[in-house]
Amino acid sequence: MDNTASVCHGPSLLAIQDVGAPTSTLGEYKNRADLVVFWGSNPVHAHPRHLGRYSDFIRGYFRKDGTNDRFIVVVDPRNTNTAQLADMHIQINPNEDYELLNAIRATLRGVELDGDEISGVPKKKIIELVNALKSCNFGVIFFGMGLTQTLAHHRNIDAAICLVRELNDHTKFLLTPMRGHYNVAGANQVFTWQTGYSYSIDFSKGYPRYNPGEFSSVDLLMRDEIDASLIVASDPASNFPAAAVKNMFKHPLITIEPHHTPTSVNSDIILPPAIAGIECEGTAYRMDSVPLRLRKVKEAPGKCLTDNEILERLVEAVKSKKGE
């Protein structure tokens, strides 16, 4: 059993399990943050409402002047639209985030760095950035795929979390992952309170075991260790490596999916559910793990069942087949 975190913010979860995470809800950032770092994320395109509602333009209780009260730092190899909005853009070499985080941490501890340039960033600029990080009242790092899915994956987050921990010696600092896929945070929450683990869970021995790399879906598919798959509301065929997708299509594939996607059109069986938040009620989790209630707007077409009903009926059918 796995969820989309394993090709998205799974590395963040691994790092959090290693070194913890100082985080908060988005409302805190809206009302208090005066320094916002976007590291490897481009909210202008990927999270279009984020800047306006929580992190930049919005006026908060202690940030009455909205964007003028905030200092925005963007760390990105590309000059993205978010970078063009920023007060400071750190243009870093691709895949060298770990070295830069490491250099920032060392500079923060008062260590004189040996080289003149680290990861394509001049030493002067690193010192400037460290001064900005130290002198704010309430800072936050938002990090995206640019940090979790470049080389070093979870070790980047590990270093970022350690940096935030150390920045709290000087000022208040927090960090939040920019979760992408719809309700992936919810999947992690539910998996965790049901099994104890957030993703990459194996039940072959009858009890949950956790080990990304061994039980994660991409690795299982790459090694061709499965003989059937059930996909609920996600689209691995357009996100997984081609070799993994090929192995998935070799075996029986069942999808519970209302849309036309590369996965659903190639499935052996499609079970179209009602769409949560439109055709039925439901709960979705925001990127900061705040559950939000979704209301029903209109009736589902035909005899569409909800995801919940489909899965419950499947469980009943499996139980009766196994004679339990």
Binding site: E99, N102, L113, L151, R155, C162, G213
Partner: protein, 283 residues
């Protein structure tokens, strides 16, 4: 020595979880009894007899030697938590070989997959070929990785070997890894590990190292910016007192970590003389 020979009949379709193949479980059992020990194949409970031809009988734990033949690249967890005895694997082996073992010896005449010797507490693991990622590493979320023992890999190893390794001079625990070459993030979050690499390494070696010694006899693709160069040395003293001769460039670090044992004095700017937190690279 009481020898038990196991020959794989046919490579299993799904990974076979074989944590029962240890001298501890085989001790004092006849071939027929060993054949009845449980293995997991996918979600089915099987026995050793279903997959292996078994000959020989087990003796005392420390006196039992298990010899495995065949393509075992799909067989996981052999030698898990073993406390003594010996295992010899002739061929490639799957994941988690000898994880959590606290005594005895494992020799793999072939390649090993990921998590070889993970969280070793003692004993010796030798691999004549290459090994995968996370050699001797801590499992996800554990703050203590390998605590004692020796891992020897003749070939190359993957990324993130020996994460969260914890050694201690007063308690005489010297977790050691010797390998022919390594990937990136070797010994990350090390708390007193000894790592000797006879070949080249990838980036970020010794990241977040608090204590420990890393010796690289080849090249490192990129040294972390938080490591400070000290100078050249002709002899290295390891944590366990052994010495390595040869010309090396000495670095101290990792200075991005608060608790690192090679602190820089704030008034004089000098790096403390402690032998901990060191990286030695051949010039």
């Amino acid at each position: 020595m009481a020898e038990v020979k196991l020959k794989l009949k046919k490579k299993p379709d799904f990974p076979l979880e074989a944590e029962t193949i240890t001298p501890d479980k085989f001790a004092g059992k006849t071939a027929a009894e060993i054949k009845k020990l449980v293995l997991y194949h996918g979600n089915e409970e099987k026995t050793i007899g279903d997959f292996f031809n078994v000959t020989g009988t087990g003796g005392e734990v420390s006196d039992t030697k298990i010899i495995l033949d065949g393509d075992l690249s799909n067989v996981k967890r052999i030698g898990e938590k073993m406390t003594g005895g010996e295992i010899v694997v002739n061929g490639n082996i799957g994941m988690h070989i000898g994880n959590n073992m606290s005594g005895g010896k494992i020799l793999v005449n072939g390649n090993a997959d990921d998590w070889a010797g993970a969280m070793l507490k003692g004993g010796e693991l030798e691999i004549t070929g290459d090994a995968g990622h996370y050699v001797g590493a801590a499992y996800r979320g554990f703050w203590k990785g390998m605590e004692n023992g020796l891992i020897k890999v003749h070939g190359k190893i993957g990324n993130e070997a020996l994460t969260w390794v914890t050694g201690s001079k007063p308690a005489k625990r010297f977790p050691t890894l010797i390998c022919g070459g390594a990937g990136s993030f070797l010994g990350i979050h090390s708390h007193g590990g000894t790592i000797i690499v006879n070949g080249d390494c990838d980036r970020c070696i010794g990241a977040d190292q608090i204590r420990g010694t890393i010796v690289v006899k080849g090249k490192i693709s990129r040294i972390l910016p938080s490591y400070k160069k000290i100078g050249e040395v002709k002899e290295i003293e390891l944590m366990n007192g052994e010495k390595i001769q040869g010309k090396f460039i000495e670095y101290s670090g990792d200075h991005s970590v608060e608790k690192n044992h090679s602190k820089i004095d704030k008034t004089t700017g000098k790096i403390s003389n402690s032998s901990n937190g060191r990286l030695f690279v051949a010039p």
